[in-house]
Symmetry: C2
Subunit: 173 residues, 2 copies
DNA sequence: AGATCGGGTTGCGAATCGCTACCTATCCTG
DNA sequence: CAGGATAGGTAGCGATTCGCAACCCGATCT
């Protein structure tokens, strides 16, 4: 027991968009919270278990899955071979913007209060900005400032003002 | 059947961080994909069902939950009262940066290819930037450029260079 | 050697998922 | 206005998955 099977239907959708692929890796219950704990400096099974209150078998399963997906690495410590260190890989660290964006959304729309601890710039101790989608020239874009474009749209430059040199550059590849 | 009960343990954690609160709202399987479909312009039960391939009772449950959480609104159309429109609220639209960040992560670390369709700036048709965590002065911060700060850290300005005027301003509240 | 600790696995009942069939209003058509 | 099609769900039921508690086993400590 404890070896759960994959649920397939997401994979079909992954052909079109990589969101399903991402969810396959970290979309399960607890995965994001384990990740947050890891970002908070936790590295050991018992630490995750006691601070998250997650069931042990589920935790073992999730850690295993995160390792499978290359999001964390499992390393037995040389000085105490009972201890196993779970550590974020570069791939795992790359999930930070997603996690912060989700947390900030929760702050604004769910809890209404800033979470602690706060993530600050290590250089000057100032809290980080709110995560936004930015245009190529750095403007903050709301949903109504964007649109979807197909591969052909991009290649043709038929979307709107295809005169922009930065666009030509991007569309070229 | 179909009325699922909430699982509580997440709520305790929500006191400290609003990530659990956010996950309570959109952390379930399919929720993000329904959201993506909504961002792609789908508005009706059958549209979601056929494009996502999700089971009908699960879809009904998820849509209901998203509506409960104020992420979507359910509106019967006046001209055809069989039809129900599901539409993103402002709160739902605010999830776009999270979704894009997750999708971009999937593109880079899972599928390795850009997804279609591509999200572009409506003004000039240029694809949006990759989502990053930015410092108050706009630098892109990697995980190792940040740290966690407690409320006291912020109030005291003991973190590092507390001389920054922007920091004083933020720490004041 | 015996106790303890870190990191799991096993069993089992409860909750959730997914599939296939209904079901109920509303249109639409003759 | 009867009969069918359409939109949006429910109900039943087997297959997974979750959560809890108990057990296991190889280090390590005393």
């Amino acid at each position: 027991m404890g070896d759960f099977k994959l649920r397939e239907p997401l994979e079909e959708l992954a052909a079109q968009c990589s969101l399903p692929a991402a969810l396959e890796a970290i979309g399960e219950r607890w995965a994001f919270l384990i990740l947050r704990a890891a970002f908070n400096g936790l590295h050991h099974f018992e630490e995750f278990q006691s601070t998250l209150g997650i069931a042990r078998n589920i935790l073992a399963n999730r850690l295993g899955r995160l390792v499978e997906h290359g999001i964390m690495v499992r390393a037995p410590l040389p000085d105490d071979r009972r201890k196993i260190e779970y550590r974020l890989t570069e791939k795992g660290e790359a999930l930070l913007p997603t996690m912060i964006a989700l947390r900030q959304w929760g702050e604004v729309w769910e809890t209404g209060t800033p979470s602690t601890p706060v993530l600050v710039d290590a250089r000057d101790g100032v809290p980080v900005r709110e995560v936004h989608v930015l245009s190529h020239d750095g403007r903050e874009l709301g949903w109504h400032d964007m649109r979807w474009a197909t591969a052909e749209d991009l290649a043709r430059g038929t979307v709107c003002g295809g005169e922009d040199p930065a666009f030509r550059e991007l569309a070229a590849e």
